[in-house]
Amino acid sequence: MAGGLSLYAEGHSLLHRAHPLTKGVLTLSAIALAFTAPSATWVAGVLAVLLVLVAFAGVIRRLLAVAVAILLPITVLLFVVQGFANASNRTVVFGLGPIVYYREGLAFAAFAALRIACLVCATFLFSFTTRPADISEALMQRGLSPRMGYVLQSALQIIPQTLEMAGRIQDAQRARGLETEGSLRRRARAYLPLMLPLVLSSLVATQERAMALEVRGFGLPVKRIARYAFRDTTPQHVLRWALALAVPAAIVARVVGWR
């Protein structure tokens, strides 16, 4: 059976224990700074900080797995396409007959790859060290309505729930003789009889869940009690503000001539 979309890795590092909002601000700021910084050196600096944090959180192996699966193909593609076909290509690095590889494309690809690496690294660092439930709980403690909190939490569960339902329908159809394995054409044909019951079951399940939520008192106008307290400290406050201010500062710097 499916078990939720969480990528959270159990751990006790400072990052695991940090307030979800601190980690959220850190992630967004790191991504924004990587995409605002004017040169590969600056972006490499952001990436270096992120990698230190990844190592510190003890999730480097997990990140490597993600890097191989996501970053490697993108990076290879970037270097091939940009090195050969970037519009500003002028300086030849090497040539094999009609195939010529250029320095400008290489530099552009490296810059873009570093930015994407920052994006992936920051996002997964957050995902590996923060439980999805903690994100909505932290936001509700900061004033997000319980209804919106529920929407946020259930959105993260909807894919595994739908997969679970589809699996059950497919099992039932297989038991009645429907071929769901084999050639691409056969598998594509098996999707048609899956879709109608899946859509109908999802609609019925949504109605039943809405009833079940009412039965459990969801939406009662009572003061919400926090499920648990997050450890929030003055250094975390300072860090959040510093990171949040660093982004507009970087944008302003770019506008006035940071190169």
Binding site: E164, E208, R216, G217
Partner: protein, 279 residues
Amino acid sequence: MSGPALVFEGASYAYEEAARESVSDVSLTVDAGEWVGVTGPTNSGKSTLCLLAMGLAPHFFGGRLRGKVTVLGRQTETVSVIERSSEVGLLFQNPFTQVSGARERVDEEVAFGPECHGVPSEDVAARVEEAMTLVGIAHLACRHPLDLSGGQLQRLALAGLLAMRPKLLLLDEPTSQLDPAGTSAIFEVLGGLHGRGTTIVMVEHRLETLSELCARVVVMAGGRVLADGAPGDVFNREAVQQRAGMPVFARLAREAALPGPLPVTLNAAVAAFARNGFG
């Protein structure tokens, strides 16, 4: 608790745009602390009876309600389902849709209802622990609800209701996904709750189970109450036997041509067979 927990007075209900009524002219009183079994053939109005008692019909479904349904002293039309949820719990047939779909751990899922009611955290923790232990899922506390089997999910759904400490429990086939051992365990839990004064209305198709557990059985057919009384009396009526069947012990006794009334529980069957020279 004193007085009736649930009163239907000439209640008839038709779902929106339905041609006929799902429940017709039902008059029924369930006293506080009673454990009443409800049975009957498919589409006889059993689940609708539960939805009416919870207030989901007509509050959630719309439709037409005639007559009166009063739960714990308040007419359902005057109280919203959400308000009612602190004192009445309804367990649906499908446990998959009873879970909130927003929690990642079993214990957090059980806590969902009490949290919605603003119960203080320490109290929530105690209720969660108690409810999970009662239904035998304390060892699953850290698991994801979607990783549970159908039977475990059914126990989780029940735990979620018990954590809200309802005075009236409406159970629509509460053990449909459980194995025999799990079923016995749940009925033991319900027996304990009944002993502590909780009123239980339970829809169930297993007539032997109803006869063993409930002092009173209501048989529905075609949206009406066909019979209402002690299981030994109800399952000996010809009309009930034709529409809803009879417990396996009664069938055995009939096959063995024992003189009536037919026994409906194991103990009564053993005694009846012994009286008539079997074994």
